[in-house]
């Protein structure tokens, strides 16, 4: 098996490359450049890197002002701080005017691990998806991260890209090309569809393989562009497989599950299950322990699939 690869390093390297190609790329960080990996860019382009200190609200405002003056700012910190700590700044300084700011956050979800509740970002997708005009991406591995960062730089408008702390096994090869707004069919299947984002994509694929041994054939979609969501792929999955299970490292409310459910309810109601954190905060622990405790494993996905299939008409 291939070694897991850091999505954060993939971001740092992609940003560095973009910086070489385009003088308008600038980067900002809030005293976490060693963790978000914007330090690669900072080292090479100190005149285009702006350390904002532990002051996320100000960082968002500076990024907005730079975008208004024609720059393409990449602002990074932990997902728990943006948009959470500076929601109104993201709303009024970036989203409302539709400014060309790229928010790339790391340490999203439960998999940040031992740092515990204060650092576990489990509401960020709900918050950011609530803002009109934002494009929201949750890459599934390092290769998709690199691709998504490049597409964000080349596409006008506000972006939010959420990365996690752990290294992730690759689900794509080097030839993968990220297609903004399009779900990726990772596996064909007709009995049910698993729609996943981030590190749950790999788990979804493993769950699908396991279920196959029992004769249950699942389609697996990587919904890496969470917003605008690929409605056509969802409706097609509902029509062709008749059951949908979503899987995300986020609260059950307001994230992938909610967005998919809206599309399903309006267009093609089918039984659904939601693999996500129920209405609670988590605690300290190893990432694998936390994912297990809060119901985000392959086994949970398998159970979800069976439960959804059982309710098919």
């Amino acid at each position: 098996m291939v070694e897991p690869v850091s999505v954060r390093e993939a971001y740092g390297k992609a940003l560095l490359e973009l910086g070489m190609e385009n003088q308008d790329i600038v980067a900002l960080d809030a005293d976490l450049s060693r963790s978000t990996m914007t330090r690669f860019f900072a080292r090479e382009f100190p005149e285009r890197f702006f350390e904002c200190g532990i002051a996320e609200q100000n960082m968002i405002g500076i990024a907005a002002g730079m975008a208004a003056a024609g720059k393409i700012p990449f602002a990074s910190t932990f997902a728990v701080f943006v948009p959470g700590r500076c929601f109104d700044q993201v709303r009024m300084s970036i989203a409302q005017p539709g400014l060309n700011v790229k928010l790339v956050t790391t340490h999203g979800g439960l998999s940040v691990g031992e740092d515990g509740t204060s650092h576990q970002s489990i509401e960020d997708l709900s918050l950011i998806c609530s803002l009109p005009g934002f494009t929201v991406i949750v890459p599934a591995d390092a290769i998709e991260t690199t691709e998504a960062v490049k597409v964000a730089a080349a596409t006008l408008g506000p972006f939010y890209i959420r990365l996690c702390r752990p290294k992730l096994p690759l689900v794509y090869g080097d030839d993968y090309r990220f297609n903004l707004g399009k779900a990726v069919m990772m596996k064909q299947g007709g009995d049910a569809t698993i729609i996943a984002i981030g590190l749950m994509v790999k788990s979804a694929l493993e769950a699908a393989s396991e279920l196959e041994r029992e004769g249950i054939y699942c389609r697996v979609l990587n919904m890496s562009t969470l917003k605008p969501i690929d409605k056509a792929a969802i409706v097609q999955a509902a029509a062709e497989t008749g059951a949908i299970v979503t899987a995300e490292e986020h609260l059950e409310h307001g994230g992938l599950g909610s967005l998919v459910a809206q599309v399903v309810a309006k267009n093609r109601p089918v039984p659904m299950e939601f693999i996500a954190i129920k209405d609670s905060y988590a605690k300290s622990g190893k990432p694998s322990e936390l994912l297990e405790r809060y119901g985000l494993t392959e086994r949970d996905i398998e159970r979800g699939v069976k439960s959804a299939i059982k309710r098919k008409r």
Binding site: A55, Q57, G61, I62, G65, M66, A68, M92
Partner: protein, 297 residues
Amino acid sequence: MAKKSLAETGGSKSTSATSAEAEVFSLSASVAEMEAMAKKLRRHIVTMVGKAGSGHPGGSLSAVEIVTALYFKLMRHKPLDPQWPDRDRFILSKGHAAPLLYATLAECGYFPVEELLTLRQMDSRLQGHTDRTITPGVEMSSGSLGQGLSFALGAALAGRIDGQDYHVYVLLGDGECNEGQVWEAAMATAHYNVDNLTAIVDNNGQQIDGWNCDVMSLDPFAGKWQAFGWKVIEVDGHSIPQLIDAFKEAQKVKGQPTVIIAHTVKGKGVSFMENNPDFHGKAPNAIEIELALKELE
């Protein structure tokens, strides 16, 4: 073509024009002309807020001379090309003073003066608080306080990276300085030795719930800015000559940012609005409009 004078531009229709053909706004106005303009802007503010039936007259009236001096004497700008890359920027952080900014932009020729009467109405380009996406000349969507200095810093740093010589002006309210983000931005502006940005505080002493000293004390106000690494200039915010001198002095300060603390009177120019927090966010009624306009003749 000759540059348009202050008198000629008032009320002119704005049309789209390219950078090359749009003219740089003439800054030849005399102090007397600017004082007359200030009075005119006050009349606009009272009239438009009165017509709208809601809005913020107090904090608009207090900053009239500040904004007049900037648009008519200091800033390099092109009313017919609001996005001109070389323009000096004016960021209205205290977005509730939108009526003042709209009146000024209209008098400079960014859009027709008649449009001022559409303030706060459905489908108007003149929103209750500023919206950079629809109003020509508005640099920032504001109204949620505390965000403008950060935005201005971003614009100033961007200009510095590109070697552009534009200057960024940002107008804050004194009450607005309750917001923590203002001080995050103050710290960062000094940290980056930004000298192509000047902040102005409309220090009218009041906020919605009353006098600043009762709501949330700001003193020592100048000392706070100094402690954050800023050069502080204090002026009578209703004296156009003092303001102009202060802006010119600020331009000469290198290696650190400057804040001009402009001592003003909330509701300035209309006796019953002066120092009256009731008129922070309340429109005058028909009788009050008439009285106010009489005072502003």
